[in-house]
Amino acid sequence: MGLGPKLLVAGEDLYRQINPNFIQEGRVSGQAFTPTRKDLSLLSVDQSSLTTAEASFELFTTGLNLRSAGIYGVTVGEASGVGLDSYSNPLPSNPAHAVVDFRNLSNGQTQNKGSKLAAIARDKGPKYWPAQAVPEVPVTISVARNDAPLLGDG
């Protein structure tokens, strides 16, 4: 895949759509920042210099009819900090599109860096989150607990 120029502005936000199944009670999974097989090791994001988090969400959900619970993000510098370069990759349907490059990494390295990006994004909180997307889940699950030691025999 031919990529555009490497992104160099360290403070630029890279917006990532969060699939509703990759968030549990407000906690984003490491998988949300890890490319899937279909992605060919390039994680899709949108550049904050070319769009807003809200516009990015609207284009993805309304324009492209795909599912997103909201937007989390890391900066170009934060991605670089875990050893990942980012490139401009405008698409006809989305001129703000860019990618974080996971190519030439082993599966373990990919998972490692993806979970680190997710942890960084989690710490910063959502960039855009529609209010109705986060229902409060009542605490209802109580179970009798064995008096087992911390390290039991399973």
Binding site: N21, S29, G30, Q31, R37, K38, K116, V137, I141, G152
Partner: protein, 383 residues
């Protein structure tokens, strides 16, 4: 034999807790750290004096400290050097390197500075020595023939650790106690620990209702919290901690947050194509029931923290824990009856991976073993 023993030091414990000659057993750890410090320093002194790289055989046998009891009326253990051993019977000059080491340690405590001949690296022994001291308490090191000596208290210990060049560190913390205050708008809480001290912290959305419930019924509810906390140079936890996992104990019931049972029910309803329409296989009922069996054993029976659970694009499940600075994931592969374990430290390049396979008890033990290394890292404190 008592008459062949020489008094070495009297570490006098000062404070209300020691009234009536009582010495809490936790102070054995502090006193042991002191004896190790003196022992290591004595070896360094010997090598320096004699231009050697190591001490001669039997050198350690000269030390051979024994505690002969507490003096009447106050908590003053008396440490003597037991001469009733072959090594100790060897003729040595008095005072020897151990006596010099004792005086040098006393000098460090008295001056809260590094005297010549005291290696900075040995200050690490003050991580343990004096750790059990509370506000208003001190250990006075009285040398033979003297009636008083330098006092180690919390302030002196902190100065010595600061001298070592340590800075506060962030690490996993496990806290047990009761939620005594919370601000649900600011997402902050205060937990009163079992030792009556309090620590404040921050919580995210997954713990909102759990914190509220624990606060409202705090008289009947105990909690165990796992999070990342800031530790002072003297190893004490201070706020704010960031909450990562939580268990609520109410009579003989417990609630784990995040709740894994209801999450599995939810994921069982996922349909194929859940990820952008063209990716994301449905999670099979077999994968759900197998994962449930593993997680029940792991969390409910073995008290491991309850994980967050997500589907994988291949139709499996991934359990995730944030434990201190570590991001830990367990990928459940029902077809292979295997769990792939991975952990990344967010503050470094450290990455660990392991696989366990077999029947459920074997898998559970494998996951416990993997998780435990992050729940009990070297140097961490459980309060």
């Amino acid at each position: 034999m008592a008459d062949q023993s020489d008094e070495f030091v009297r570490p006098k414990l000062e404070g209300k807790r020691f009234a009536g000659g009582k010495m809490p057993v936790e102070f054995f750890t502090d006193l042991l750290a002191y004896t190790h410090l003196v022992s290591e320093l004595a070896k360094i002194i010997y090598c320096g004096k004699h231009g050697k790289d190591r001490v001669p055989k039997g050198f350690g046998g000269r030390y051979n400290l024994v505690m002969t009891g507490l003096l009447d009326g106050s908590a003053v253990p008396v440490f003597k050097r037991d001469r009733d051993t072959e090594a100790a019977l060897l003729k040595v000059e008095q005072p020897d390197e151990y006596d010099e080491a004792r005086e040098l340690v006393s000098s460090v405590i008295a001056s809260t500075a590094l005297p010549q001949g005291f290696p900075k690296a040995l200050l690490l022994h003050f991580n343990r020595f004096g750790k059990s001291l509370r506000e208003g308490e001190a250990i006075e090191l009285i040398s033979p023939g003297k009636t008083s000596g330098p006092k180690l208290d919390r302030e002196v210990r902190l100065k010595l650790l600061t001298l070592k060049g340590e800075t506060p560190r962030y690490d996993v913390c496990i806290l047990s106690g009761k939620i005594r205050a919370a601000d649900v708008l600011d997402h902050t809480f205060t937990i009163k620990l079992d030792d009556e001290s309090s620590v404040y912290g921050n919580f995210d959305q997954p713990f909102n209702l759990g914190i509220r419930r624990a606060l409202l019924s705090h008289e009947n509810i105990d909690v165990k919290l796992i999070g990342i906390g800031k530790y002072t140079v003297s190893g004490e936890i201070e706020g704010p901690i960031k909450l990562q996992h939580m268990t609520i104990y109410e009579e003989n019931l417990s609630t784990d947050l995040p709740p894994f049972e209801s999450r599995l029910d939810e994921l069982q309803r996922l349909e194929a194509g859940w990820l952008d329409g063209d990716e994301g296989q449905a999670v099979s009922p077999g994968a759900i029931s197998w994962s449930r069996e593993v997680l029940r054993s792991l969390v409910t029976k073995n008290n491991m923290p309850s994980p967050f659970i997500y589907p994988t694009t291949e139709g499996g499940l991934q359990a995730e824990w944030s434990i201190g600075a570590w991001e830990v994931a367990a990928q459940f592969d029902v077809e292979a009856q295997r769990i792939l374990l991975r952990a990344s430290e967010t503050t470094s390049d450290k990455y660990m991976e392991d696989t366990c396979s077999g029947d459920v008890p074997i898998l559970v033990n494998g996951v416990i073993e993997f998780l435990t290394q992050f729940l009990n890292p070297p140097g961490s404190n459980e309060h």
